[in-house]
Symmetry: C2
Subunit: 217 residues, 2 copies
DNA sequence: CAATTGGCATACGAAGCGTATGTTAATAGG
DNA sequence: CCTATTAACATACGCTTCGTATGCCAATTG
């Protein structure tokens, strides 16, 4: 019943992905030498080409792993509040906070699109978008927001979030920038709200947290 | 009177930038061989290294050229209507349309960030952002929009625009996708509008088609 | 008209990627 | 239990590409 073989293989894959993730995240995709980071995993490029085909294939695997983690985090965050709108707002906030992480910025937001093409084509990125889309669909059904295409709104909101995050992360004063960005973001999001009377809002819908409140520079 | 020297130099630079722009736009930065596209310009890499230092320097120059063109187009578009809000909306629309162009997508939106780092740090990208920021500042002074930080709003709106454009450009049905995206975009933008009475609007500020469409899906 | 600067080409070295070819170890079948 | 085949990896090679160091020629300058 011992299957050391399959386990060893999975371990090899994991080691390669881990080493590549580290190298891509710090040096960037182009500067990361396959010889170097396979060696740091105690392997050679032979293993890499066997499992992933080429360098791009490895990047795909790394991004898939990161994106799975992101989607899981978003699911948890958005499901926590009983208020749907609050859940959506929390989801957006979590999205921004994730996009502040250097590893995600570098691998997913910059190198990924350059090497693999537009993210809207990836199966991975769709995961996060789908999560937001579902939240918006429910809000639309509920009558909390206006009748817009949920996927379209999700993509616009995620685009705004990502750019806000990049702006904040690279700002001289991330704290102040974050405050300004979140405030403007909140105003924009309110554009989605259904303002024709208080039709179907089961709770106060405009309860976005006042700040992203990330750690100081 | 004849300064053929300076003219030749400028011509060489222009030829290099043009050839690189062509190669970067079609093959992408990484796949574009310096030997190949310098040869296509009737030159060698010697000229390139002399004028631009390295491949990244050339990419910077190419992006600067493209961005200057984009900024000029935006200026024209936003200044045309006498209504400030309409000018801003037109500017956003033009921004999306530019982001649909494959050359801009590839060079400015994908390879640029990967090679040169976050665009919010570039002097170039700031040009477009500054244009939008100024429009929003005027709208804010006018009282047409709520009091939000103009640069923050500009970055959010541009982020949403860029993502919308990428989504549209890579969609199976760009026509339908565009309609959905633009509609949702308008709804989001309306979040910026000042709805507390008709305070300071010198003209009808909501000249954007008022088809907010509060009908259910 | 000589000297020097600078625009650009050529030549060289160093990585890095991808492939082709081993080598070893684990499964499958008899 | 023994063999044959497959699969997981390593090794070795060639090709491309980048960056630099060097050289040449024309144009400016005094």
């Amino acid at each position: 019943m011992h299957r050391p073989r399959k386990e060893m293989i999975a371990e090899t894959r994991a080691k390669l992905i881990g080493a590549a993730r580290q190298a891509f995240g710090t040096l960037g995709y182009a500067e990361a030498s396959m010889d170097d980071f396979t060696a740091s995993a105690g392997l050679t490029r032979g293993a890499l080409y066997h499992h992933f085909g080429d360098k791009k294939g490895l990047l795909q695997a790394v991004i898939a792993e990161i994106d799975a983690e992101m989607a899981a985090r978003l699911k948890v965050v958005s499901a926590k509040p009983d208020n749907l709108w609050q859940g959506f707002v929390d989801e957006c906030t979590a999205y921004i906070e994730m996009a502040l992480e250097p590893e995600i910025q570098r691998i997913v937001l910059r190198d990924g699109p350059a090497v693999l093409g537009d993210p809207s084509q990836w199966p991975s990125q769709s995961t996060c978008i789908r999560s937001m889309t579902e939240s918006l669909q429910r809000l639309s059904d509920e009558g909390t927001i206006l009748a817009v295409d949920p996927e379209a709104a999700a993509r616009l909101v995620s685009g705004a979030s990502l750019h806000a995050a990049q702006w904040i992360a690279n700002s001289n004063d991330p704290e102040a920038t974050s405050k300004k960005a979140v405030k403007a973001f909140k105003v924009l999001l309110e554009g989605l709200l259904n303002r024709t009377g208080k039709l179907h809002q089961p709770d106060r819908p405009s309860a976005m947290q006042p700040e992203v409140d990330r750690s100081p520079a």
